[in-house]
């Protein structure tokens, strides 16, 4: 959080709790930023010295495709290939390491990139049906990798803009299939189970029901999905896209649901794009692990985090994020731009 930015302090801030993890965020109402103040000029990409690796995968020595979708004219529209410089490596033996009090293991897993055809057309300007195609690829790769030995969690995510960690400008998502489930995710799984035990219903279903009814933070809905700014947003203009029905496992998404998700995701990212004038952002899927256990109380969803704040010493230390706009106001603005 950047201190001393605003010129007035009228209202006291609000601590809001995440009902799943128990985590806290601060909504710093007093800092009273207007939506326009969140617009930031993005850093340009350096000019390509050579061909774009994702426009010309063959010519630039990328790995061989593991999935290709083609148009009726035979040209590809989407392709998935192993990341050339993977954070997790395929076809390696799993080794455990010990060093004194410490413990580690070899980084075995899968790291893939999901690429759409056009260098200049980011998700915000795609047709909803093209986004449904991306979701279709996510599902295909998820199902292919979930039963691999040593894969216990699959993370699918998308970085847009240099500030959000995308070093290649060409629009692409990534998938990492990894051998561990982080305590950060475990906290959410455990929280969902505890909530279910106390309330006899799913926490995310409670949230979806409330947001659809009240519409204060709702941005968009169709038959199968809703998009809204979460009550305890960790970043200004954060948006969640969630199935309306109780669904623990992303990979079981139906074709009809994929079309609705494509629409909800495209509308949400489009609204963020218009409101914040093409900001850097990340989105990622939170779903149940594929570690052979059941997670009947979890409810998968997508979190979109525009790059609107710097998480500084306080946030890094405590895990409590400070956001300088009420999610209700952010939603109002986003709704206008859907």
């Amino acid at each position: 959080m950047e201190e001393n930015k605003s010129k007035k302090q009228t209202k006291i801030s609000e601590l809001r709790q995440d009902i799943v993890t128990g985590d806290w965020v601060v909504i710093a109402l007093g800092r009273g930023k207007r939506p326009g103040e969140f617009v930031k000029k993005r850093e340009a990409y350096p000019p390509l010295l050579d061909k774009c690796p994702f426009c010309f995968p063959e010519e630039t020595g990328q790995e061989k495709d593991v999935l290709v979708f083609r148009r009726s004219d035979g040209d590809w529209s989407l392709r998935v290939m192993p990341n050339k410089y993977p954070a997790f490596s395929r076809n390696q033996p799993v080794k455990n390491f010990e060093e004194g009090p410490y413990f580690g293991m070899s980084g075995v897993g899968y790291h893939e990139v999901i690429i759409t055809r056009d260098h200049l057309r980011q998700i915000a300007v795609l047709d909803p049906i093209e986004v449904a195609e991306i979701v279709d690829a996510y599902q295909d790769r998820y199902i292919n990798l979930m039963s691999k030995k040593s894969v216990n969690y699959i993370e699918i995510f998308h970085n847009h803009g240099r500030e959000a960690g995308a070093s290649i400008e060409h629009p692409h998502s990534q998938l990492m299939a990894i051998p561990v489930v982080s305590p950060g995710i475990q906290l959410e799984l455990d929280g969902a189970e505890i909530y279910h035990k106390s309330n006899r219903k799913c926490a995310f279903c409670s949230i979806a029901g409330w947001e659809i009814e009240k519409k204060k933070r709702l941005i968009f809905e169709n038959d199968n999905f809703l998009a809204f700014c979460p009550y305890s947003s960790r970043a200004a203009f954060e948006v969640w896209v969630m199935p309306k029905a109780h669904k623990p496992y992303f990979e079981r998404i139906t074709n009809e649901e994929k079309i609705d998700l494509g629409e909800a995701l495209q509308k949400s990212i489009g609204a963020v794009f218009k409101t914040l004038e093409d900001p850097a952002y990340n989105f990622y899927i939170h779903t149940s692990p594929c570690d052979g256990k059941d997670y009947p109380h979890y409810h998968w969803h997508i979190e979109i985090l525009p790059h609107t704040a710097i998480w500084a010493g306080f946030e890094l230390s405590t895990g409590i994020e400070i956001s300088t706009i009420e999610p209700e106001k952010a939603a109002e603005e986003l709704r206008r731009n859907v």
Copy 2:
């Protein structure tokens, strides 16, 4: 993590576990960055249109000091004042809010800034004894605020550079005394207790003992403190400064220890400054809550996080950070610059 940056992939990455929280990090060995590749040009501060609020607190309408240290010539050397635009507000009634399934409370607490005299002298170039004076101020304010009603955790932190969230250039630390303990911190407290039960010793004492003995990741030590790159570093060139003896509570630091901490902290930050050519960074104290409970198994310490990476979709979603230099190599480099 930025993908596709490096030009070679020789070694498989390593997953390393935090023995306290159970969290995982990825040390991406194969990306093989050289230390020099982590040097980033920092964004300059815009020229001051008016006087610096921290050079001239009286003239710029800051809040009244709550602590002042003076030199023998009568001029101030350090002062602490309430943040003019606090994230948490003093002298307000605590109110709880409910909205449907959600829960929140008013952001009541204390938010102070700790300012050293000289606009141009950051911690990296201070004398160790001047850093001990800053630690002395931290302790003074901590003790003053820890018994206040509704204060359950006190976070002391320092942001350096715009990229690390410092919107004012003048060197300053901040203190936030808040009503809640985040699950992020609770995870560390719980982990320390579980480790103690299983191993009959403190996890942090095990770490300190091992690092002092092996010296692979050690950067500096004196009678009371050690500084080292943690085995499961979350960022390249991360450094922890830790008391050698088992100490759960920062606020009980003695005068002799303050002098040693001033030295260890100044040497560590100085080494980071030289190695990465004045990077943006955050540091913060992790200590036991002041919520009236005892935390005999915890061991306070300071974490220094240079701004060497972008935490993108994967890190934000999973909480698993990817670092592209081995902590052993980072320590080797930092040792050279102590």
